[in-house]
Amino acid sequence: MKLAVALHQPLGALALDVAFTAPPGVTVLFGRSGSGKTTVVNAVAGLLKPARGRIALGEHVLQDSDRGIWLPAHRRRLGYVFQDARLFPHLSVHQNLLYGRRFAPRGAQPEPEARVIEMLGIGPLLDRRPGALSGGERQRVALGRALLSAPRAILADEPLAALDEARKAEILPYFERLRDEVAIPILYVSHSAAEVARLATTVVVLQDGRVIRQGTTEDVLSDPSVTPLGARAAGAILSARVIAHHHDGLTELDAGGARLLLPRTLHPIGTPLRLRIAAQEVIVSRARPEGLSALNILPGTVEQIRSGDGPGALVSIRTKAGTVLARITRRSAAALALSEGVDCHAVIKSVAIAPEDIGR
């Protein structure tokens, strides 16, 4: 089931004008604050009524302004996870979880309660009141509450933005499990490159109320011309598989035949992983470097060079492991005579790959 969205809505000084489709998996609406992401999600949820638009989930039409159709929020059956968990303070955690169940239609088959509670690890919290939960626990309960209302899709509006780094690291794996185990589209709003890298299967990049790019995560994040948060936050995704844990604290991965070494992860051998390689941690060398401390040297060819008015340039390099983005200076690009099709090496320090950049 696909979520198809086309909207037009005046938004402050600019107009929101977006069209995209969200297939099953996690579609991240990605852009800086003020780009209209939350407005889009609220329109999909039915919490606001856009001037014009057509929103459909499979064959269920949620809005079609041409035909005068607009379903109110409570008839859309979309589970919404808000930035502030919005748990009902007068109900226990268990009562919160079951709130949506009574409104689900008879034929609906919500995820089994026991499975959701196990998946989110909230069993010990059931009898507590929301006021007695930590921020991370609240967000897990909110996610469970949305899942148990038998939704046809999940909407999440920056569900981690209000949490500190430790809590984010605690919640992200639950969203990864959700993506891999629940077969409904998830529309996820974020302005965090790390969240996109770890969760997204599809990325829709929003800028000033318009979609400037949509596609698979690998394609969008490795495109040097798409940097909604600036080149500093750019970084491509590599798919790899754990093949060995070494005694010196390194984990070895196989990425399309290339070997990568990174600081030890807890993932067992055979686990497929997604790595975000931050563009500014990548060094470019024409010749294969010798006597270098960096452990990962990926040979490849320059695919595209993108430079703006500043001193920097973003270079995409196609390697066996996938496309890598490197942020270098324009001066270096000139000195190395980099241009499309030129052979070079992407050099990546193992310790530059942080734990939050490693996901499933």
Binding site: H74, R76, G79, R86, L87, R129, A132, S149, L155
Partner: protein, 230 residues
């Protein structure tokens, strides 16, 4: 304190009956009006607000007279009600109506304040989980405004117990029929030697008012703890 005489007991019992009915019957309407004023946007909202608050501003005698004109034996609504067997004028039911009208603005104000304090984002969350407006109100808004609701009800009840001007204008001062505590105090003070009886009722009124306040505090605090999420 000396035991109350039969006439005084009658006044106390009648006051309790009148105030209870006035509170119970006007509470749902007050919740509706408060919800409309706090949450809905509709033409005529300012007019509704004015109408609700009118009895608070107008001289009670005027309110009583308006009730007499509308609900009296010759009034349009009075005649209609009479044809189905409901007599309001010079009857305890009329005293209940007068007390309800006079207490209504106080109730609406207390309940409206507590509705405005409910985070509308919680109501949105309930809607995304499939709750229609009615269910959102019953399962989220209503439990969360419970302290305000209780406070409003007790305020309305206390006002009803003390209502005098509108009551005496609308339903007069008939012992056993429409003579509530304030009317009885007034009547006792009109006859020589009635001061002792009046003083007893005055003391009782003060005790009842204090009791109502204490009760409302306790109930509201308990309800607040329950919805506080702890």
């Amino acid at each position: 304190m000396a035991v109350l005489g039969p006439e005084e007991w009658q006044a106390v019992a009648l006051s309790l009956k009148v105030s209870t009915w006035a509170t119970v019957l006007s509470l749902p309407l007050a919740v509706l009006a408060a919800h409309a004023l706090a949450r809905w946007r509709f033409p005529g909202r300012a007019l509704l607000n004015g109408l609700v608050h009118l009895p608070l501003i107008m001289p009670p005698v005027v309110t009583g007279y308006v009730l007499l004109i509308v609900f009296g034996p010759a009034g349009p609504l009075g005649r209609a009600l009479q044809s189905i067997g409901v007599v309001l004028a010079f009857n305890w039911t009329g005293a209940a109506l007068a007390a309800a009208v006079m207490g209504f603005p106080l109730m609406v104000r207390a309940i409206r304040l507590s509705i405005e304090a409910v985070d509308p984002r919680l109501e949105q969350a309930a809607a995304t989980l499939g709750a229609s407006r009615m269910w959102v109100f019953l399962t989220v808004t209503l439990p969360l405004i419970l302290p305000g609701l209780v406070a409003g009800a007790i305020l309305g009840f206390a006002k009803a117990m003390g209502e005098f001007g509108a009551t005496i204008t609308f339903v007069s001062n008939i012992p056993g029929q429409t003579q509530t505590i304030p009317s009885a105090i007034y009547a006792f003070l009109q006859v020589p030697g009635g001061e002792t009886a009046a003083a007893r009722l005055v003391a009782l009124s003060i005790a009842l008012a204090l009791g109502a306040l204490l009760l409302s505090e306790t109930v509201a605090r308990r309800a607040a703890r329950r919805v506080g999420g702890q």
